[in-house]
Symmetry: C2
Subunit: 388 residues, 2 copies
Amino acid sequence: MTATVITGISVLVTNTPGGDGPLGEVTDAALVMEDGRVAWTGPSASAPAADEHVDAAGRCVLPGFVDSHSHVVFAGDRSREFAARMAGRPYAAGGIRTTVAATREASDEVLRATAARLVAEMHAQGSTTVEIKSGYGLTPADEARTLRIAGELTPETTFLGAHVVPPEFDGDARGYVDLVCGEMLRACAPYARWADVFCERGAFDGEQTREILTAAAAAGLTPRVHAGQLGEGPGVRIGVELGAASVDHCTFLTDADVAALAGSETVATLLPTIEFSTRQPYPDARRLIDAGVTVALATDCNPGSGYSSSMALAIALGVREMRMTTEEAVRAATLGGARALRRDDVGHLAPGARADVLMLDAPNPIYLAYRPGVPQVSAVWKDGHRLP
Amino acid sequence: MTATVITGISVLVTNTPGGDGPLGEVTDAALVMEDGRVAWTGPSASAPAADEHVDAAGRCVLPGFVDSHSHVVFAGDRSREFAARMAGRPYAAGGIRTTVAATREASDEVLRATAARLVAEMHAQGSTTVEIKSGYGLTPADEARTLRIAGELTPETTFLGAHVVPPEFDGDARGYVDLVCGEMLRACAPYARWADVFCERGAFDGEQTREILTAAAAAGLTPRVHAGQLGEGPGVRIGVELGAASVDHCTFLTDADVAALAGSETVATLLPTIEFSTRQPYPDARRLIDAGVTVALATDCNPGSGYSSSMALAIALGVREMRMTTEEAVRAATLGGARALRRDDVGHLAPGARADVLMLDAPNPIYLAYRPGVPQVSAVWKDGHRLP
């Protein structure tokens, strides 16, 4: 494979201790990629030659975003439900169940085409690592095919059979949990790296969450949890106890939850584009960061509560609404996401890291928050290959 | 010139009474452009043949956005000032004066290159009509060259010599107003369609505003006003009295201001990306619309208070933060902007309208608010020419 050198980088965000400031910034920098990995970083003036040369011409370069939370394998359109919610108009919709019904009816080809389009859109916006959850199938076969399709697009696949109790189990949550822990888990485990549970009033309680994640762990899946989105609950504590890689949402947290996260390796993943699209309160990133919790930003891209795939908007909202500094938000969208997926090969640009590289049409990464909504991607490399 | 037909449009937003709903929507539609104008709209099945055929393949089409308020001729970088403001850190900056100093020092070539890049970026995001103000020169020569450069990019140029009192007139606002109304106006009038004043505590008071806009009107420039951004004041009332096309910002309004706007042809232009980037309260669009005021959305793209050029984000914020329906927000970003610039050839797609056309990678215009931050432009035509 050929080597590529990018010179003339105004600011290179390495997220490593070698550079300046919290992002390990190197100014007037260059970066060499070879065999899909970062081979060298340093001053532009000392850059070695390579087969291919790209002049950044004063643009900044950072690690590709790590979007550690999405639900992009689905069918159906919920734009009118969104418009009604925003206008405060009633809308006869079944929420997640609407998407479940449409997803079950859709062919593999339709699901694959939608998911592939969305993942391509995420890549084009600089998200070089993307996690995808199941959770709109809710039968063994539909969950397994969701994860098969997701696995064609990313290694970061998450079994979320415990998203909601599907209509055919109304009044029989026990029966559904048995299905999830038994036949469904057996059908899905070969296709999933992670297991997740929506631990929330109206979804799954603490006991069910523990049971499902324990069964999943026995099947080789590492836990993650949806918790604290709509109210306080036991999800954060259980996630930390079971060694979850991440607890996601974290809007409603007790002091004990924050302390538990701070004393653990579990990341708090914040999803502010969801609060943007639901008018829920934003999570308190400041409280978490000040307590020493590792924070990630992700999009939660899904057709119901928030259909944005923009990590740049998540960063801008982190700064605007959650009192993160621009450095903290950029770090959370890169290294934070990598920690939430327990990946040490992405989220930073030290030599040896995967050559997942984002070049912005901007002189520094502050512009991600300074110019909200503006497409600023100049070029993206994934595994050293420049995306078209 | 060749004719182009777009068929297979899922939803065509015409903004004319012919179609359905508040946006004059036509479903399963087609549109023909010829000689830079819309020649025909109607059902896709009845579309006439044309030299060039574009299949929208189920995408929606709307009038290009009309961004009626921007300040994109400037020099200098204020990203670090933004980051400090967001973090609540002190920053030794002079606000607008920082940009004035950098703009005065910059060559025409530098100013032209920055402005052309930003206007191209606006076009690429679907803003086919763009207004540009002066206001970072604040000498007769620097204001005139700003407007000359702006006029190379758009016919909608606005003389804003009364942006702030420049440092060389500290303590002598009277002297500066005399300069604005005299030599500066004479130098600028040939290059401007509009005149604007920043009527706000700390900038220009009601008497000065009236004096400047009256002088400008005598020189052939139609008034617009910046008012109600930071507090209530006389700007709205004066704007309405003088027949301003638009009063812009409108965050702080008395009941009398709202009544005056409702009883006038003056548009209230709201700029929510500014509130996003300053953490100021958002204007109350609902109050204005319910009172019968014509509302426009624009970006106010500028390096200080908000550097977004995204009309899509302005729409999303209108819906999220200002309780506009998605239809109201889309209308305000198209027809509303056209009214704010007193243009009857843009902002709608009736036959005879300018062929300024935006095709989204989305089945309906709700997606502009439903998918915030996501680049969704599929194609843009300006005067019937497809942008590259």
